[in-house]
Amino acid sequence: MEFLNPAALYALFLLPLLLIPYLIRRKPRRVVFSSLLLLRDFSSRSSGRPWGRLYLPPIFFLQLLLLLLLILALAEPVFSVRPVKIAVILDNSASMQALEDKNGGQKSRFELAQEQARDLLRDFSPQAQVDIYLTTPRLEQSGKDALPPDKASAIIGALRPYDLGEPPDSYGDELSRLAKEKSYERIFLLTDHPVRGQDRIIRVLSVGRTKDNLAITSFQIARPSFTSTQMAARVEIASFSSKEEKIRLLLKGGGKILSARALTVGSRKSVAVSLEGFPAYPAYEAEIEVNDGLALDNHRFAIAPASGGLEILGISPRPEALYSLRSIAGVSLKVISPEAYEKSRGEDHPAEIFLFSAPAFLPKKHTLFVLPPKENPLVAVGKNLSKPVIASWREPHPLTRYVNFALFRPAYARSLKPLSFGEAVIEAPEGALAVALEHQGFRYLVLGFDPFPYLGKENLPMSIFTLNLLEWFYEGLAGSSAATGEPVRLGGRSDKGFVVTPKGEKFLLEGEQNIFSHTFFQGFYEAVRGEKKELLAVNLRDVRESDLSNPAPIQLREEPAVSGSRSSFFSVWPYILLLSILLLLLEWFYNPPATQP
């Protein structure tokens, strides 16, 4: 006999607690009787009982048996009739690196999950077949062959978590699909998420408790102006803590501490810090000194922008309004017609603005689309809107920063709907007015309104929004950092070379390879191709991983059993449950509620 849920057997240690009500029952049950004439001296005699207050009636032993059976039923005893096929899924996302107190020391959630998985496998017979899965970068099997429990335990011990956020898919659906496709008898998911719902096959074992945490959510290095030689940094720190925290922010570059600042961050608040006037270095690191749940998100890395100025290619049949961008310092603009754009594809403009036009294919450049025609690769264009009211906007977001949306009233707009992916940054009641997305290292922004011409102080909300979007493109252009798990673009396409990861691993690059996708850890990646060296910064950007106090629950749904499938278990627990219910009825007959007049 095996137990599918052996952890429930620990509840046996709680059985002696059943004695407590009998030991401390100070207020006995009151029963009204017609006359105590014939019972008068019974009281003194019963208190002289050698057991004292402890009186164990037969009902106690019935209750003990009932609890024992219920615990056994919870442990799900089964008789195996053929080798058991199970899957162990380990959540290896960034939040699993959070430290938990255990036995006086500290262990990461991932280590706790590994221990639990090994304990779990110990209870299965050696004939069981175990598949091991990891959740990031996507839910996939680690290794191909099914393993016996002892070998699976060894492999689980060698696994490490990644600095990655979890995939946005619903775990519940994904696991149900896996159970159906691979015919697993049981799937164990070890994660730091709470669970909602229940499933016959999927068992979620949650590790870790809610913790306070602070994180650097944004770190940008830029020149104060496009032509400045000094650098400026902007750091955003978000608190996921239940109390106010005092922290120290350090900015490092060239192996030195360039700046330090003491800060106080309120509970569940964020602060933005600007640091200016420090020299240019190839790479920078921001760090907050705080004793919190997750150390990983206390660091952020950035590469300095390669050059000053922003060169933009404008494509529009009516480009007059675009010329106003030339009044912004550091912006150089070249405007061509849509027809001429097809011929100038080879031109090396780092950013493009399509005003009232759109190309047939998505350009591999940072691109702004303003009121694109219906035939465009990103959004479906909706109905015309006159002076739309802004209903909501994404915050915090670099595009909406400092914009007063109460005064933000474009004269004309069209609602947008993303075709495949992209997030709505600004929304009117009728639909999205601005949709932003990042794809293959490029940033795209589609606007359902026309922010041009740039009027400076005359239309402050729109001007701030315009500067935000230029800065957003400029950040992307500088390649200051990429998100973990996101493929990064490499320069120099012809030479062979290699990439060294922050963990010291070396990946060889083929001659034509210009995308590197093994960005599973946060830090600096060094790409070497011939004589040319390129430094890339990669950061954890999924704030859900930093929010250790409010993890998203996993929703499980009971899937109907596949007809014709035969379980390898002969389940005993339903019979034990039935027996328990019969005992409960027996107890009810034995000890019915006392009737009182």
Binding site: P28, S34, L36, S43, Y55, I59
Partner: protein, 296 residues
Amino acid sequence: MLPAPFTADFVNRLEALRLRTRKEFLGSRPGSYSSPRRGTSLEFADYRRYSPGDDIRYLDWGIFARSDRLYIKLFREEVDLFVYLFIDASGSMAFPTAREKFSPACHVALALAYVVLANHDHVKLHLLREPAAAASPFYAGRHRIMDCIDFLTSASPGGALEMAPSLGDHLKRLRRPGKAILIADFLTPSPSYQRGLNLLRASNLDISVIQILSRQEIAPPFPGGGLALVDSESRAELAVQWSGELLREYHERLERHNRELKSFCHKGGIHYSLFVTDQELSAFVLETLPAIGLFK
């Protein structure tokens, strides 16, 4: 409307019954119970010397022929009967519920009242309860059974009861001797009920006692373990560890208590009978009560 146990057959059989008295009382009008006075019934009582003015129809001519003396035959007078039904309406009569104990006691009283009324005698109902003791007027005639029902259904048991003082209150207002039937659970100390019964005896009443107990009083269904037993009348609490051993001892004590009551009744010339409330009322009235001599 008569209560459920009073089926047509049961009522018919009640009609055939008559209460038996062991004393002779002075009635108020002709009836079917013998009186200590001489009267005009068929039952011969004595002879008396003839005096001028006596009705010569009652002269015993046989004695005159033998002795040449005139004697008048005397007959017993037959009068009606006054019956007093005392019903315990204290808190203990509501255990386990009033429906299960007090109502059966009322049904016994109604059956007895019906027998009395069907024989054109008089019945008066008394509720023994403190402090609000209640008594009905005298009822006579079969049709007054509905008044008896109204009187008893409007009563509800409650409160503590000291039998002797309560009976004493009622007896102060009794003017006519007759038959007294006391219906109670007698779950009081023996001196208490003995004082009460002696009061009845002192009032020159012919006494019968019907003890009413519920099944739950004979075999208390307490769960095992610690209990705080509460007296239904005095609300006094008693902590006990209830077990099979205590249950056995309780049975013994109850049996001893009932034996003591029965013995006292026998010594005092009092009819005694025990009615357990889950018994059939008709069986009790038609079989048990005639067996103890309550009915002719």
